[in-house]
Amino acid sequence: MKWNGIFPRLFTKNDISFSTEYQNYLKSYAAPNMKSKIVDQSFVVFDTETTGFDLSASRLLSLGAVMVQNNSFHINQSLSIAFQQSVRHTEDAVAIHGIVTNEQIGLAEEEVIKIFYDYIGSSVIVGHHTAFDIQMVQYCGKKYGFGPILNPTLDTSYLAKRLDNPYNPMQQNPKDYSLDALCERFDIIAKARHTADGDAYLTALVFMKIVKQFELKGVFYLKDILKN
């Protein structure tokens, strides 16, 4: 099998004992048709909350996702899941997310990973600084026999930068492209920030509005935003 995944370095050729669920995911996965219109494509907009930003030392706390298609998303088809916790969180996460330690509710990591891989199917994955979230999920999934996520991904922060500076997006000031800044820019009331599901909801709105901006610039097709 040839890995076209986003972070192949996480996996080596020896990682081949994949779970049934991951194999099912691989079987049913079909890469999106790059010629289709952006609005017609199904996107999973997701976000996670973690105990820190260090991949190996941090743990997932919660995961939220909505499925966007045709400029809309169904609330009852969204994900809002807490991970069962037993290890004490690092202090900085508590400071940022306001999450306290003694939560015993939520699903086991393995369950969440299964649900998530099933949920993303063949959708394009969208998130704000989504690379980190994807890495976290893959890192965690590895423990349960889940391999890399094949779905193409889009980062709303990067898309917004590209919108403003198509040729040198990375020259933009990152501060202007935080989720808060984008919400303000697109008139989205940013309430309950720093919960995974709340941020997924906001990111979905930001994403739909960014897509519209691309359309206004004549960018209609998936290939145009997926090809960096």
């Binding site: 919660s62 939220g64 909505v66 400029n71 809309s72 998303f73 169904h74 609330i75 009852n76 969204s78 809002s80 899941i81 807490a82 939560e103 509710i105 939520g106 008139d187 989205i188 009331i189 309430k191 309950a192 919960t195 995974a196 599901d197 709340g198 997924a200 909801y201 979905a204 709105l205 739909m208 509005k209 519209k212 359309e215």
Partner: protein, 626 residues
């Protein structure tokens, strides 16, 4: 874990009607049925003639315009507004096109989730009926016919008479002694007499026993029939206490028989006394009437007036029909005025006034019996010339000075425009009044026309009421001779155009103390009251002062416009209600409303209430060629 996505929707919709009437659990289930939809500027939510989807919509952010065709915007929905629901329920195609006026995010709500909640919640269905004509052909919130139809069951229990117990009555064949012993035994002040079929034929009260038996010439061994009063006033079952109270108040009786069909030709079901009502209701008009009667100082009356305000608040809270409340308040106001006149005569020397024939008039809104809150006094005096009595006018003026001062002390402030009986201009003999009105009607200045609108709604309150009737008679016969006057009156009624600037925005005061508030009296109530007056005068209908009743009368007389007049009556009622609530809230006359203080439902009702104004003014323009 709290689902932030569902809560985000929940937190939003819970702020807006009709969702704010639902429980948290219901709202959470609605919220989870929502589809969040993004509409770029100019995109179409649904199109004219399209079959309805399974969803109706709430604007989350942005604005959606509803169009009849490409260029005519019917309405603009912004944050929290619901749209596209009627076709779903009526199962008809969309009659309007919905387009995003700005970039918008809207929540589509699954009708299947919503319908059952709507059906089980009275307020929700009422709201939808009010705003989307769902389930009713009437766009207006109907003030409940029975004052309790909109209060919780706890209130309903308090407000109906218990008819489960067997009624107390006595056979017509029994003796007076039997009746008296029964009354003593049960400790009641009266007893109903029934025939063999248990139909009420009369009533005996303590008073009858005192006057007719103890002090009179009837013997206690006679049959009760001989001393009973008849017929007995009857009402049908299931009347609310408030209605019963009103009936007792207006007929000056203290007992009512409840019979199967409301007449004395059917079986007695229950007897209700004033006392029963008092026990059940505490603060009530009957008690206040008694307090007025017993008052010995203006301070006593001021206390009653304070209680009237709390009574008003209670009634409004229970959504009682405003027409009914206004009648009670007006009745009580009249009694207070009478008492003040009585005090004033006593103070100045009753002897001086026993030969003077005069009539105390209420004018303006008090004359129309539309006063709910304590406002300025508006009154006048008509007296009869009598060569045998010296200085009639001076005496009447002296009296009026006393009365108005007392009323002022009680809380009815002096009229800033001096439209009071204490002003020599408004304390005139019948002949002088006739001349005044003739002058107003035949050579009117603009000022005169305005005077007319105030004085035309005069109503006799106390003393010789025939003087008032004579004056009215004169005015109407004068009007027959003169078409110009009614035209001017019609023109005056057009002075204040409907108060909507653009679809949904109220015309607010631009300057002065009341900047940014809405003058509900000038901009909404006066145009309606003025239109009603002109139209009723055009029909030469005498003796109907009340704006609501005028519109109801007009609806009866003009079949092709009856719907509009009914609407106008409803609108006026809504406005009176809104003004009174605002007045109670701010402890003032309620005239200036801050739109921000109102909840969305009240704002919408108010907005609907303005619609008849424009149509009425169109009628006036056509009819009087203005």
């Amino acid at each position: 874990m709290k689902n932030e996505i569902i809560h985000r929707v929940y937190d939003f919709i819970k702020e807006f009607p009709p969702f704010n009437y639902l429980t948290k659990d219901d709202l959470l289930s609605i919220a989870s049925s929502v589809v969040v939809k993004y509409f770029p500027k100019g995109s179409i939510v649904f199109d004219l003639g399209e079959a309805p989807s399974e969803y109706f919509y709430v604007v989350n952010t942005g604005a959606i315009e509803l169009l009849e065709n490409e260029n005519s915007i019917v309405d603009v929905c912004d944050e929290g507004d619901v749209f596209g629901i009627r076709p779903l329920i009526a199962q008809t195609p969309y009659l309007l096109k919905a387009r995003a006026q700005e970039e918008s995010v809207i929540y589509a709500i699954d009708i299947k989730t919503f319908s059952p909640l709507m059906e089980k919640n009275h307020k929700v269905s009422l709201y939808l009926a009010t705003n989307f004509a769902i389930g009713t052909s009437n766009m207006f919130f109907k003030n409940p016919k029975s004052p309790t139809s909109d209060v919780s069951s706890i209130h309903t229990e308090l407000f109906t008479v218990d008819t489960s117990k067997a009624p107390i009555f006595i056979d017509a064949t029994k003796t007076i002694k039997d009746a008296a012993s029964l009354m003593v035994q049960l400790n009641i002040g009266s007893v109903i007499i029934c025939d063999v079929e248990q139909k009420p034929i009369g009533i005996i009260t303590d008073k009858d026993l005192r006057i007719k038996v103890v002090a009179g010439n009837h013997d206690k061994s006679e049959q009760v029939e001989n001393i009973m009063s008849s017929p007995v006033k009857c009402v049908e079952p299931h009347r609310t206490l408030a209605e019963l109270q009103m009936k007792m108040l207006s007929q000056r009786i203290s007992h009512l028989a409840i019979t199967e069909d409301g007449t004395d030709q059917s079986k007695l079901v229950a007897v209700v006394s004033e006392h029963d009502l008092v026990v059940q209701q505490g603060d009530n008009p009957a008690i206040l009437l008694k307090e007025i009667a017993k008052a010995t100082t203006a301070n006593d009356l001021a206390n009653v007036r304070t209680k009237m305000t709390s009574l008003l608040g209670k009634y409004l809270e229970q959504n009682m029909a405003v027409s009914f409340i206004a009648q009670i308040i007006s009745e009580l106001n009249d009694e207070i005025i009478k008492k003040c006149i009585f005090f004033a005569e006593e103070k100045l020397g009753s002897e001086l006034y026993k030969d003077i024939q005069y009539c105390w008039l209420s004018i303006g809104s008090e004359g129309r019996q539309e006063q709910l809150l304590v406002t300025d006094q508006d009154n006048a005096i008509i007296f009869e010339e009598n060569p045998l009595v010296p200085d009639i006018k001076e005496k009447c003026l002296a009296l009026a000075v006393e009365v108005t001062a007392m009323l002022n002390k009680i809380g009815y402030e002096y009229c800033p425009a001096e439209m009071m009986a204490s002003n020599p201009l408004w304390c005139q003999s019948l002949e002088e009044w006739k001349n005044t009105f003739s002058k107003w009607m035949f050579q009117p200045t603009e000022q005169d026309i305005m005077m007319c609108t105030i004085f035309f709604d005069f109503r006799p309150v106390y003393k010789k009421k025939s003087l008032s009737a004579d004056l009215a008679q004169y005015i109407y016969s004068d009007m027959e001779k003169n078409d110009v006057f009614i035209h001017l009156l019609a023109k005056n009624a057009l002075q204040n155009p409907p108060p909507l600037s653009f679809f949904r925005n109220l015309v607010l005061e631009k300057n002065g103390e009341h900047k940014d508030s809405f003058d509900i009296k000038l901009r909404a109530m006066m145009p309606l009251a003025d239109a009603a007056r002109v139209l009723i005068l055009q029909h030469r209908l005498e003796g109907e002062n009340n704006t609501l009743k005028r519109f109801k009368k007009l609806a009866e007389m003009e079949h092709n416009n009856s719907e509009l007049f009914e609407m106008a009556a409803d609108a006026y009622e809504i406005l009176m209600d809104a003004r009174a609530k605002n007045g109670l809230l701010n402890n003032d006359s309620g005239r200036y409303i801050k739109p921000d203080d109102m909840d969305k439902m009240d704002r919408l009702m108010l907005r609907n209430a303005f619609q008849p104004i424009d149509q009425l003014q169109q009628i006036l323009k056509v009819r009087f060629q203005l």
